[in-house]
Symmetry: D2
Subunit: 403 residues, 4 copies
């Protein structure tokens, strides 16, 4: 029958198993991390991933041929929300950014040799990777057409020059997927072609300049600034075809947007649960907090934001699984969810008062993580701009809009 | 597979037929109405319903045994959105409030005799009905436990005394479903029982006192104030069982909430389309309006609000079709949609500038209609209160929350 | 000492007298109007203005030499808020738009003959006026540079051709101040000069085509659409100097923006008081409404919006009285106040529930009036655009910003 | 004349001197701190305060008899905004919380001996202090009537027992002002009396248990948790009179609320300036960022929030200088400003994109500081509750509302 939200029993079972794993194993690790270094290092990552393997919840987004659980996007929407219930859940399940998106991209476009060399160890959790696209001003930020990193053809290979920053997971990654301009001059009027390269970090000319300090601290390897200076790679480093970099970025982008939404939705639900726990037990002014109208409003608004986020995610997941591009739906969903998640965490803090901004609860740490999300994966403003342009361009295009 | 938004072909076909009917027939009637009396009278209603019958789109929510199209709630969510694309669409299709909810209720609880006498002519569009629950202060408003209208048992019947107001469609209705207290004293501490009665408007003691003038003017028969003074009915006037009035109100409420959402979503989409049309053609400051960032923001926010509303409605429809109460989901959905619809219409007006508040576009009329919706069917504040209470009461209850 | 909000005793006394006059005389007239025609006609205007004269509160913004009370802008900010406490207050006191702004402009730039002929009877309330600037697409709307109405020089005069709409008060006005292009071609790149003309409505070629129906209905004479077809006037019809139309529009604009803010602030305060009255007396769910947290939030938010609006208005009034242009401050203030007033009225309605949208309270009528205000006198988007451009242009310009 | 925002020349001169001092001296120290420890220690404090003394801007809120600049509240509103332009400005000028509020309180109620012993070294910047009121659950948080710390009378003194947390500046303070219950049992129904005590931190039984880790890190000495266990002080430790603790808290509260607003307004202005700088220079999509509509909207909204905040602060400052309690005005102002400041910093981050959340700009640090401010000094919800209760209680009380 039309319109069905019923879950496959296997997905429901995996959801429950994931939820149990996160509660029983990951939350404790999160607590220790937040009271300690504040960031997950590779030791912690390996330990958690080992536990996830043991619990049968490892690599839900990876195809079964690579040892993963092979969920489609709808299945991911269910399981990744559970993973996201802890900051460390996605890392433990090996479905965290940027590896998750990189694995997806490599599954789609890597050659057999690249699969062997790069994807297999990545899928197994033996190594980490990063995605090197964003550049300092005046390079590619929100506007990819400003790409200034170049890859110049030489005999039997390419020489890459440029600078990248905010490259999540750069420190400790085994390789980077580097986006570089291979023709054209870019800018507002220019037509440019970009190509993706698989660059091991020990390639001469590839250098991690620094950690860019950021408000968020939850990603293993932080956010790096990378200098590419005469960095020479062979033809076998080209990912897919020369000149198709932007097209591949789209391949990675729409589903990656959505997995971000799933994970952050989980974290928002966790924040909400913490606030519920607090509101249900603490008293003030002669009432239980949860019986005060303005607290109830925060709680109800959180329920609403969580429900709307989930409904949008599920629908966009179905669009992707249906084989459509989902550009519009994932853009709409990302914009809503990134803002909703921010509101939910903010309200949860407000409900918990001083405790909410203290290290005695993880909410302050969550706030730091989710703030970035209205900027990363496309700032809300850029998404709104592209949403509006799309609907104006094609007012009767209803592709994917299941009226 | 799990999570499927695919539409049945018949539903998709009915959607398209409904959309065509609204665009080709109803919009013109709406234009005439808005430039004329401002309210649809029974002449217009009959004319439109005749056209809907001819187009095969009449009574989509009514069971086939009664001559309707027999859609389940999910099917309704698709078709009623199309109906709502015009203020007069739901009236034309005979799925407007309050008749739509009343028919649903009567299908569920009316006796065979009541079906014959009340439901059949109602389902056929021969007569209209109203639902008489709300009372002036200090009676039942948002808080039904303040019900003061009484029905007192007499030999072979009941005598009803009380006053009702904001009774949509009262003027011209053939009968009212009257909610009255049949035991208990009500108030904060009291336990009271309510009963529903089917009261023909020509029953002695039943009197339409006045039209309550309201901001909205789109309902046939307006909103009436009714005096019940020694209004005597027989035992056969009891709808369902004595004392079950509040339970039946719930039967009517959850789906009625949702059909409201569907219809208003359609109207919001129409407002958005009007704004798109304007933004796509009008210029200012050397740009097409739709190329200006703040206009694009309005457009994108409308897209987002419409998509989130639709996703929530579809999911709640599935919950109802699954046989669950849907109390929580419809409450969450109603709160979000009522506010989203208001925002969408407001932004559409803002995009259209002075024209937006002029009678040259229907947006001002829409604003008047949708403002009421944040109050009717339960004000946002009451829904938020009940949402918060529910989640606090049962923090691990996930009934209907398709994680 | 620096920074002083103390009121002159005379201003405070006039404020109190105005408040008493509005409460004792004007509110009743408003009630009658809202239950009747919905718009104030000239009979009602004359009656109310006669009463205002008798109460010594007539024409607060008009200079004493013309029989007014001669308040400076700060004094106006105090008294016009009181006038605005009723929809009809500004009309009664003869400080309503558009006459109030027109009188201000004429006092600044009219010749002695024009003062005699146009300003004196206007200041005395003997006649009404209108300001004819806005044009249908593709003419001057938010962007005045799109002005298409032309005034062509002829022997001893000018021939005006064009079309104007949304001309408040047009029906029944004695004369219009018409803005017309007197050189240049306009558009994004064009440099054009505009000139203002004083045009009696009985001038041949000047024709009121229709009332533009609008959401708001509170202005005497409504909003008219005017056709100027070979409309010939003499040189003495030029207001001020040829080619200075846009400069004069600025003369009118900044203070007119502010008097709008003052009046609407008064109406918002009235809406808030109505909601307070209701929240203080009505009960639901075993509580007085005003003791429920979400209602308290509406009330507190209204207090905050009213206080911030008033503080901004007072400061901008001081800037104008200091002889500065106040462009930035009045733009900031207008944007905030127009939106705050809308929020306050909306919350007041929400507090009052169904009664709030009924004709038993004036709130629905207020909503209709104030909605227009986010568009008239420059839509919020245009103000935000000019605010941002100004601060970006001159980041260290602190003119008028009393840090 | 009525309503005057003109600044005294001396205040304007001090404002400019403060602004120059902050730009020339403090901003560099802030940069070093943010790239280093992240919190200002006492070494940095002494160094900065020495520089402030040299620049003649030290202790603006302290009376001249104690070596300060003796500004009234309006003067403070001008100068403290400039101080707040850097996170370290208030510390440098010795007008930071909690010392600033403590000095104000001590000036009002300390005995001569207490002035000598506690106030003089504090005013000179020789020592720091803290204000120990907030308690862990179930003690006094937002609701001071839940105070559970007790002070029990003994021969010639008092024994204090209890626990305090979120005590800003506790680590390194020379003394604490401790609020303790001296009679009554507290709770919703209880009547309790509280008393303030001046407790040197080396008093036996006074122990700093830990630093409470918090999202914000900008206060010297952090936020401490304190255990008072049999902490015995003499009668001379009583601040003011026994039993007047809550009254004194009010003495401290209203002006302290306002000085917080002033300082945070300065920081918000700084965030806005950083965003302006970025928007004015960075390009994307072929435009300067500052020429894109959605960026302009952020900029304009920041201008509006800053202007409204400043206007409210100035007015409330005048109310306090007029000798009135200012309870209502400071509550309204605090609620608005705390939220406005949060919005401004958030928008500034959004304008700056990834750079905004990086350590290359101070905005992320600002976000962490200002988030706390919607909770500290009374959460927004508690202020809204008290604002609503006050206006409902006394609907015609217009004390301090300069209509």
């Amino acid at each position: 029958m039309t319109i069905d939200f019923t879950l496959d029993p296997e997905v429901a079972e995996l959801r429950d198993r994931t939820a149990a794993f996160v509660r029983e194993t990951v939350l404790l690790a999160e607590l220790r991390m937040l009271q300690g270094a504040g960031s997950p290092d590779d030791v912690l990552r390996r330990e958690l991933q080992q536990a996830a393997r043991a619990a049968g919840v490892f690599a839900p987004t990876v195809s079964t041929s690579l040892g993963g659980l092979g969920l489609d996007v709808r299945g991911q929407s269910v399981v990744l929300e559970e993973a996201g219930y802890s900051l460390l859940g996605p890392l433990a399940l090996h479905c965290a950014a940027p590896d998750e998106g990189n694995m997806h991209l490599l599954e789609k476009v890597a050659t057999e040799a690249q699969r062997e060399r790069f994807l297999k160890p990545l899928a197994a959790g033996d190594v980490r990777s990063c995605f090197a696209m964003t550049e300092p001003s005046p390079g590619a930020g929100s506007d990819p057409s400003q790409l200034v990193t170049t890859a110049r053809r030489t005999d039997g290979g390419w020489v890459i020059d440029g600078r990248k920053w905010f490259i999540t997971g750069a420190d400790g990654a085994a390789f980077a997927i580097v986006m570089a301009r291979t023709s054209g001059t870019g800018g507002a009027d220019g037509v440019l072609e970009a190509t993706m390269f698989l660059v091991p970090v020990d390639t001469p000319g590839f250098r991690l300049v620094r950690h860019v300090p950021t408000l968020d601290t939850g990603f293993t390897g932080g956010h790096g600034e990378i200098e590419l200076s005469g960095c020479t790679v062979g033809d076998d480093a080209v990912l897919g075809e020369v000149g198709k970099g932007f097209a591949y970025a789209q391949v990675r982008l729409a589903p990656a947007r959505l997995t971000h939404c799933m994970r952050w939705l989980g974290l928002a639900r966790r924040a909400h649960d913490i606030a519920l726990e607090y509101a249900g037990s603490r008293t003030a002014f002669g009432s239980r907090l949860g019986d005060l109208g303005m607290v109830q409003q925060h709680i109800a608004d959180n329920e609403i934001d969580l429900a709307a986020s989930r409904a949008l995610i599920r629908e966009a997941a179905w669009v992707l699984d249906s084989g459509r591009s989902g550009k519009h739906e994932t853009s709409v969903t990302k914009t809503f969810v990134a803002e909703a998640v921010g509101r939910v965490v903010d309200r949860a803090i407000q409900v918990c008062g001083a405790l909410g901004i203290s290290g005695d609860l993880p909410l302050g740490a969550y706030l730091r993580e989710v703030r970035a999300y209205r900027i990363s994966e496309g700032p809300s403003e850029v998404h709104r701009w592209s949403i509006a342009r799309r609907v104006l361009r094609n007012r009767d295009d209803t592709e994917g809009a299941p009226r």
